[in-house]
Amino acid sequence: MAMNKFINDSDDLPRQLLEGFALAHPKQVRLAGDQLVVRARPKPESRVALVTLGGSGHEPALSGFVGTGMLDVSVPGHIFAAPGPPRVLEALRMVSRDAGILFVVLNHEGDVRSASIVMEMAKKADIRVAQILTHEDISAGTREDPKDRRGLVGCLLVIKVAGAAAEEGRSLDECLAIAERMERNMATLAVAVASATHPCTGGVISDVPDGTMVIGMGQHGEGGRFGPQALKSADETADIMLPMLLEDIGIGKGEDVLVMINGVGSTTLMELYLVMRRVRQILDERGVRLARGIVGEFLTVQEMGGFQMCAARMDQELLALWDAPCDTPGLVVA
């Protein structure tokens, strides 16, 4: 199977992609420095800034969440490859301020590695920065020992609520506390039905046998502990996945849950809506309230087939922050 992608020079892909990205969203973002994505209208210095880093190839994530109400700077790496420390440090320097910086890192080897070097450097450079690590993939590790849990689409929730808090003028400690609460409140599981193609190598990056699905596939198709099973219906798949998430976050009758169904590539919005429908039925049976149901493509993995289901316990403050207005290429709340 030949690669069915419209690309040019694959080495230069991230730079070219950013150029097009900036052209499409001039009201929200612009490029600065060494391929950094920053807000078109910067936030006042008195507010906490939010910075993140991560590989490209997951559009709209993560640079798509730069804008009012969410991130201040995103440091996009090459395709599936975290950016090296120097550019990340440049980003921190760019928004360094007394109010401080909340630095959102997804738990993937490269991101964590780069971030830890950057945190050391930032300390030496007297930059006030607090790191929040998102790791909510329940297919690996346990809630008690989450270091193996990968960071999946839940980062969007963390960025949204912490971003809204920062916009409101909350302190770094408060923003961090909100981010941590959101992070601990959430759980995500990915299911894959078709692999992605790496746009630089043209190689298929994971193994999903035809007619099967793999629950717990992680971000790129690294795989998980479950292995392939026969592809199931939307309802049956939700019946398997949602209870695992609800159990992980330990949510009970009468509580508020946000459920997000994030398409990762070739799986249609149509299918995601079917899954959301079943989610609501399951929650109704359990007496848990679907406070917010989010369906869309926020963090993709090229043309991979499947979705990430994220469930999060919400309280009034988190709901208000989630509902707060934002204006970014990947999410606009009016």
Binding site: A81, P85, P86, G110, S114, A140, T201, I205, E222, G223
Partner: protein, 211 residues
């Protein structure tokens, strides 16, 4: 080559490593598709291209400065899990190379040990965890013991390269305990680790550079 590694020899070693990676990058990406994200070859390619550019454009005349410059350049690459470790490896080497115009077998061992120590400060992965450490650690050990036993630089590097390749090959039967591949657990068994394989290739390239 004389009995010690001078500036030009170091340049050859670095170029040798770049050449080996360039030849095998497709294999490395393919290895990374079992449990990884299929990009280790492209990432390494970016790293060694940067390494070569740095070597070519560097006007520094000291071994330590060159190593440090290479390390920082690789850190500057969008390097995923590999870049930071590889970058720190070279900056670590630079520390021990400071003050040396050339490196005999003993000094070279010390330089590599310092590189290894720098990597070890970044990661908790050790031998047996199915990472690049499975190639790097035995290579540095063997380099030291060969030099202690009086081998010349070329012989010591030859034995180190063999140890790196054997270490890489040994990862085939291991379960990954670090990096993306960790998640597939037992299913990582059967394929050598891409990072270990590329480290084996780097050492073969170092050797090629002095032979």
């Amino acid at each position: 080559m004389s009995s010690a590694v001078g500036y030009d020899d170091l340049v050859s070693m670095l170029r040798g490593a770049a050449e080996r990676i360039r030849k095998e990058h497709a294999t490395l990406s393919r290895l990374d598709s079992h449990g990884g994200d299929g990009d280790h070859g492209t990432t390494m390619l970016r790293a060694v291209n940067t390494l070569e550019t740095t070597v070519e454009t560097s006007r520094r005349q000291s071994i330590a400065d060159l190593l440090e410059e290479v390390g920082w350049a690789i850190l500057g690459v969008d390097g995923g899990a590999t870049g930071p470790l590889l970058g720190m490896f070279f900056t670590g080497m630079a520390e021990a190379a400071r003050g040396h115009d050339s490196l005999d077998a003993a000094a070279l061992s010390a330089v590599f040990e310092s590189g290894l120590a720098s990597v070890e400060r970044q990661t908790e992965a050790r031998v047996g965890d199915k990472t690049m450490m499975d190639a790097l650690v035995p290579a540095v050990r063997v380099l030291r013991s060969a030099s202690d036993a009086g081998s010349d630089v070329v012989t010591a590097l030859r034995r180190a390269a063999a140890a790196a390749v054997a270490g890489a090959e040994s990862t085939r039967d291991l379960e990954a305990r670090f990096g993306r591949a960790k998640q597939v657990g037992a299913r990582s068994v059967g394929h050598p680790d891409p990072g270990a394989t590329s480290m084996g290739l780097m050492f073969q390239g170092f050797l090629q550079g002095v032979e």
